[in-house]
């Protein structure tokens, strides 16, 4: 049980590091140039949407991991 919690903590940490990598490598340099003066609004909006998508994905993965690691304990 306790090992499960440490494993879950480690998994959360790993996901933060990987998520950070995706943010910096893919999301950071991303720009939309074709729309004149409004390109920065579109770029920011798209970045926000992708960032929110990543957060939702992070929560879904954690949810699956939680069910996998604590499947015995969560049968309350």
């Amino acid at each position: 049980m306790k090992f499960g919690l440490y494993g879950f903590l480690f998994a959360m940490w790993s996901l933060i590091i990987v998520g950070g990598g995706i943010m910096v490598v893919l999301l950071g340099p991303f720009t939309i140039q074709q729309f004149g003066d409004f390109h920065w609004i579109l770029t920011s909006g798209t970045k926000v949407a992708i960032a929110l998508g990543l957060i939702v994905m992070w929560i879904l993965i954690l949810s699956k991991l939680k069910n996998y690691i604590f499947k015995k304990e969560l049968k309350f």
Partner: protein, 330 residues
Amino acid sequence: MIELIIPAIISCIIAFFVVYFTTPPLIKILLKKNYTVKDMNKKENVMVARPGGISIILGIVVSEIILYGFFQLNEILAIIITTSAAFVIGYVDDRKVMGGWFKPVTLAVAALPIIFLGAYDSDLVFPLFGYVQIPLLYLGLIIFMIPITGNTINSIDVLNGVATGFMVIASFTLSICLFILQNYEIAIVSLPLGFVSLAFYKYHKIPSKIFPGDSGALAFGAMYGTIAIVGGVEIIAAIALLPAVINSFLFLASVKRVVEHRQIKGKPVEFTDNFKLKATTDKTAPVTLVRLILASGPLTEKQVGFAIFKLAIFSGILAIITAFMMGVSL
């Protein structure tokens, strides 16, 4: 370097002893005025003084004002204002039961001084990969971060000494990380949080003589969140806080909505005949960190507290590893 060491020592001593010496008279006053709540995890009908946030905020404000005298940083003003605002919000909730919306919304407003004082850098730094510039998105992050850290610390304040003990570990970890990253001024500014928590832990540890209340827990959480923002260590701060984040995550994943703890009918924990804590079999009760710790069998309140502290130390080590990884680039 000496110009940094002297303010650091003075502010740490002041932070510790202001809380250490003001808490006993505060307990007496609160007991006299009958500002008490029942300790739900005790066999006997034990009434405990609340809120202890008054001595906590006193220790934080006095020590940070002293540091402002040395450094004149806007970051210190942001910490003082946001933490004080969070204390007031918590104190209102201590005195009067407010709706579920109250704390998140007002804590978001409490975060605004950080923006107005310009006490932030909109670059979000990640370990190994560098940083990403998110000027607009970062403003949203500031507004979300204070309610999240405030409520996360508040949600872990479930057993005697747990919130303050956890805060001691998390805040000293954050200070160590700031020193590793050579952000010395903010590291020194962050130290009083650890010393205030340590002094309050003396009275909050099992058996508690005083509870921090929402005013204390929100002040702790808001100061922690503000330090993370002004120090540019948001990711590290989140990692050091992971056990409390797990607690909130498990709770929200099981109840599937944003709701106050007191609105949930099912209790996650029950008592054995010899008054040890055990996980409930009630399917309507939320899943919490304490309930998961107890899944392997009943434990005393003290044992559960130490299990949480061990998790906090583990995530503290991960946070320190992350701080070292900040200096490495792939």
